[in-house]
């Protein structure tokens, strides 16, 4: 029998601490949609997505009602389009993005991920075409997200692609300049990209994944913060224990929702992603959670240590709650999507260099960071190269989603709206790294990748 205390604790998590399921993401393989004609390939893609995902939103809403659990997003991830479209006789992949956008709208989901390519070791012709199509594809669609894997621990870093992506990000920003470079908010580059990530903008269904699969991303920074508040002044061992317990409960909700969605949709359950995902709302911030450890402002000394401990304790609690954990599974520290991060960046306490250090111990990387519009393509590539090195050489996932906002500089602010939030423009080191980036080539895989 469940006690009244437990019931009230659960209710508070939902009502006061913003506990929710961040996303149910249906992965759909598009491998069988290849065709030599663009129109035929697009028709197949549209039909397949709508056939598999037409009930996704309604199912999410029914589960949400049954358990009184808010499920914020229902999304779709697909096979990287660079693989699906490889057989087509075309050099412009924008029509595929438009097809994904149409299918997403028909299904009622709010994002579709998979306008992607995996180029960690080199380009296929199709990868090159996809990457060159990104600016136009993101400017002419609403819900399509694009991700490129540039590096992995097993292959090293494709520096030619790192150089290209600096230019592509700049061009994407220019084409969506009227919307504060919103296109860049839908574009992320990875090292060691997970193939089962349910979160955007990086979701795609990797080549090793099944035909169709349900992956669920949880949330809950508010719940963890509240748990830490209850042990004010206690030593860090106690804090770790407290976080683990909260993470266990949060993950169990995710597991319940994932299992039920999988059953109702007759689609296998893939993984739970144990990431603490913030929103711009007050009370739903990872930065505020870190401050609860005893930091005056996120970004000050001690932030990396607190984040490392938080990330580890969340995983330890979560791993017990679900047998299938995957995706990114680590705390997210996007700037624009987190009220506390925004405040810390605006106050000058949180700088780009500190964020880079923080990405060594959490999942995502330099995420949703607005930078001056006059930042050069080579400097953006330099930012990417450093982040790729962190991921590649530390055997973890890292990513970069920066937004060079045309016409804006340090001191200005950008507003993306909704879950994407708003952000102050952050200062970028102005010394040039152009000669380094222009060398191109491939940074060899680190020695510890030789495991066999």
């Amino acid at each position: 029998m469940i006690t009244d205390f437990e019931i009230l604790e659960t209710m508070k998590m939902f009502n006061e601490q913003h506990l929710d399921i961040r996303t149910i993401t249906m992965g759909i393989s598009l491998m069988d949609c290849a065709a030599s004609s663009v129109d035929e390939c697009c028709d197949k893609i549209y039909d397949k997505i709508v056939r598999y995902a037409h009930d996704l939103v309604a199912t999410g809403e029914a589960i949400s009602k049954k358990y009184g659990v808010p499920i914020i997003n229902k999304r779709i991830s697909v096979t990287p389009i660079a693989i699906v479209a490889a057989a087509c006789n075309t050099s412009d992949y924008t029509p595929f993005a438009k097809t994904l956008d149409r299918a997403a709208k028909a299904c009622g989901v709010n994002f579709v991920g998979g306008f992607s390519a995996l180029v960690q070791k080199g380009y296929t012709n199709s990868d090159m075409k996809l990457i060159n199509s990104i600016p136009e594809a993101l400017a002419s669609t609403d819900f399509v997200c694009s991700s490129i894997n540039l590096a992995s621990t097993r292959t090293g870093i494709n520096m030619d692609a790192v150089g290209d992506m600096g230019r592509i990000i700049k061009k994407t920003a220019e084409l969506t300049a009227d919307r504060d470079a919103l296109g860049c908010a839908k574009l992320v580059v990875f090292a060691n990209a997970p193939e089962d990530n349910p979160f955007m903008a990086g979701a795609f269904l990797g080549p090793g994944e099944p035909e169709c699969v349900i992956n669920v991303g949880i949330s809950g920074p508010g719940v963890v913060k509240h748990a830490i508040e209850s042990v004010k002044g206690a030593d860090l061992g106690t804090v770790a224990e407290t976080i683990k317990k909260a993470a266990f409960k949060i993950t169990r909700v995710g597991e319940l929702v994932a299992r039920e969605a999988s059953e109702r949709l007759h689609v296998p359950f893939g993984i739970i992603d144990l990431s603490l995902a913030p929103t711009p709302e007050v009370g739903d911030s990872v930065a505020r959670l870190l401050e609860e450890f005893g930091l005056e402002t996120c970004g000050t000394w001690g932030t990396t240590a607190a984040l490392a401990m938080l990330n580890d304790a969340v995983k330890k609690g979560g791993i017990m709650a679900s047998s299938y954990v995957g995706g990114l599974s680590g705390a997210f520290i996007p700037v624009s999507e987190d009220e506390g991060m925004i405040a810390a960046a605006a106050s000058g306490s949180l700088k780009l260099e500190k964020l880079e250090a923080m990405t060594c111990v959490c999942s995502v990387g330099l995420d949703m960071i607005a930078i001056p519009g006059d930042t050069s393509a080579e400097t953006i590539s330099g930012i990417i190269a450093d982040e790729m090195a962190l991921g590649t050489f530390n055997n973890k996932t890292t990513a970069v989603r920066v937004i060079p906002v045309p016409g804006k500089g340090v001191g200005d602010k950008v507003e993306f709206g909704g879950l994407l939030g708003y952000a102050p423009i952050m200062e970028v080191n102005k010394a040039s790294c152009a000669d380094f980036i222009n060398r191109g080539g491939r940074i060899p895989a680190p020695i510890h990748s030789m495991r066999n």
Binding site: I2, D4, E6, I7, L8, T10, M11, N15, E61, A62, I63, K65, K66, Y67, G68, V69, K249, R252, V253, E255, L256
Partner: protein, 94 residues
């Protein structure tokens, strides 16, 4: 962990007044929902009631029970939620 029983937890939280239990019980009875257990406390004038109910053939998502409870909550000036028991079992029991 999920039980075969189709049960739910209804919680009512708000300022105490006459007729809360009567109102909720009447609504449940009209909808053929049986009350298995009920507990209630008043702390600092905040009324908290937790009911364990047997939904029988009803299910939460395909009926309008959530809407009806919300409407009643508005009328009584309290917050009423209904959640399937599996949620609590999942979160609090290994």
């Amino acid at each position: 962990m999920e039980s075969d029983k189709n049960t739910a937890v209804i919680s009512v939280i708000g300022k105490d007044r006459v007729g809360i239990i009567a109102g909720v019980s009447a609504l449940l009875s009209e909808n053929n929902i049986n009350i298995n257990d009920i507990s209630q406390t008043i702390l600092d004038d905040i009324f908290t009631m937790i009911m364990l109910v047997d939904l029988k053939d009803n299910d939460i998502e395909n009926s309008d029970i959530v809407e009806k409870l919300n409407a009643l909550g508005d009328e009584l000036g309290v917050t009423i939620t209904i959640q399937h028991t599996d949620l609590f079992n999942r979160m609090h029991r290994i």
